[in-house]
């Protein structure tokens, strides 16, 4: 590989790192603002300082347990919610993210289960490097009863579908899957990016096996890091971009591969066997770019039917 190619490949690094290092963005410094009558508070991870385990109390009153920890922590534009899951012994492999700061955001809505934040948010946030589905928070002055509390990432997923330009919207009376049906029919629901593709059978069964890197698991991926998905070669699945994330509803096969649960006018996945995805399927929900928006404005729809979908990360 030449150095020029390395520079070229470097251009495709994770967008979080690009945004993090953008000119004008600086390593944050701790800041405090006066509390006022506000609709919501959010705790934000800021600059790194060394951990001080079991530091003596002093200053604001000590917190007692998981319920006193921040209702949610915002990191890299994502919300991590405190459901009161106490951690009694700090697991190995944690890495310090930084000190949790207190930022007042007036008028910002918080989810119903976020709870009110204590005025004392004097602690540290940790993560398992490479796994951004979980944050571990610990107050500086917590006693030995609780080591820390877990905050899990829970985000609604925005699903978009392609409307047919030529054939028009979905026709009344035609069968189609609703999202809950897809979810119910799926053995596995994951978000992934394409690593490679190869013909399933060089002699021409007309199928292609895609290997995907699992970036998020919403159901039953266990410890799988990659998944192989078998699709018809002419289906056009994954044709948009190898770089896009795809949300996949998958049915398992005996040979260990998976097939997308799909829908089409008049065609279903029957008994776990994938039949066919026509090129102009109006509900190619198995192949979609995924958006994680900040304003909880989520929708998917057929003929303007809209549902909010929330998939909890495993």
């Amino acid at each position: 590989m030449t150095v020029e190619k390395l520079i070229d490949y470097f251009g495709d690094i994770d967008e979080r790192y690009i945004k993090e290092a953008a000119p004008g963005e600086r390593p944050a410094k701790k800041r405090w603002r006066a509390l006022a009558a506000v609709a919501a508070l959010a705790a934000v991870v800021t600059a790194c300082i060394p951990a001080l385990w079991g530091a003596a109390g002093g200053g604001p009153a000590a917190a007692d347990g998981p319920g006193d920890a921040p209702g949610y922590i915002r990191w890299h534009g994502r919300n991590y919610f405190n459901h009161g899951h106490a951690v009694y012994e700090m697991p190995e492999g944690l890495e310090l993210l930084g000190e949790v700061d207190q930022v007042v955001e007036e008028g910002r809505l918080i989810p119903e289960d976020a709870g009110d934040l204590s005025a004392n948010i004097d602690g540290y946030a940790y993560w398992f490097p490479g796994n951004d589905s979980l944050i571990v928070f610990r107050y500086k002055d917590w006693d030995s009863s609780y080591a820390a509390v877990e905050l899990g990432r829970k985000e609604p997923i925005l699903l978009m579908f392609r409307e047919l330009d030529e054939e028009g919207p979905h026709q009344p009376g035609q069968p189609y899957y609703t999202l809950p049906d897809l979810m119910a029919d799926s053995d596995m629901i994951v978000e992934g990016t394409v690593l490679q593709a190869e013909a399933a059978d060089p002699d021409g069964t007309g199928e292609v096996v895609y290997t995907l890197q699992i970036t998020q698991a919403f159901r039953r991926s266990g410890k799988m890091e990659t998944v192989q998905v078998r699709v018809p070669a002419d289906s056009g699945v994954f044709e948009t971009s190898r770089d896009d994330n795809y949300l996949l509803f998958l049915r398992g096969e005996a040979d260990g591969t998976f097939r997308p649960v799909s829908t089409s006018q008049g065609v279903y996945a029957i008994e776990g066997k994938f039949l066919h995805i026509p090129a102009n399927d109006p509900l190619r929900i198995c192949e979609m770019p995924i958006l994680h928006t900040e304003d909880n404005d989520f929708w998917y729809g057929v003929n303007d039917v809209r549902e909010e979908v929330v998939l909890s990360l495993m």
Binding site: V3, E4, D8, I13, E20, P23, E25, G130
Partner: protein, 186 residues
Amino acid sequence: MEDGQIVELYWARSERAIAETDARYGKYCCSIAYNILSSTEDSAECVNDTWLAAWRSMPPKRPSCLAAFLGKLTRNLALNRWRSRRAEKRGGGQLTLALEELGGCAGARNEMEDVEDRTLIVSVLDRFLASLPKRDRMVFVRRYWYFSPVAEIAKDYGLSQSNVKMILSRGRDRLRQALEREGVSV
């Protein structure tokens, strides 16, 4: 105007899309281009090409991070223009220096066949960056993605230039080792 609203303008094929993009990201993209091309005129042309590329790609794309999306377009366009100019034996700038620096990432060739799988190498780069402390990662990306001058990085992050150079040097060593572990030679 927020990113989501700007993206909606593209999807609505509104002429305001470009104006709003330029207002919000004109300087940002120009800075990226200038660090590569070292020419105000070429940078301006590159930014205009970026807006055209953005117009053509949205829809169907709906980027979740507009800054990174536009930045990538500008970076790639500027790199292509730089290559053309180099063929004409023109120009220089931060990119030339960055290439010289990264040339030091060359490791001993092993007996395995060289791997040039883009996806694999990008995943190695991502894992390498994830392994860095945040400040070091920001410095590294500012230098080799944005091609910001060392002096500018030092000033923005409150570091001495020698400190920045040391961070970059350590980073390059770690990157070389990470690539070698995957059987990639530079």
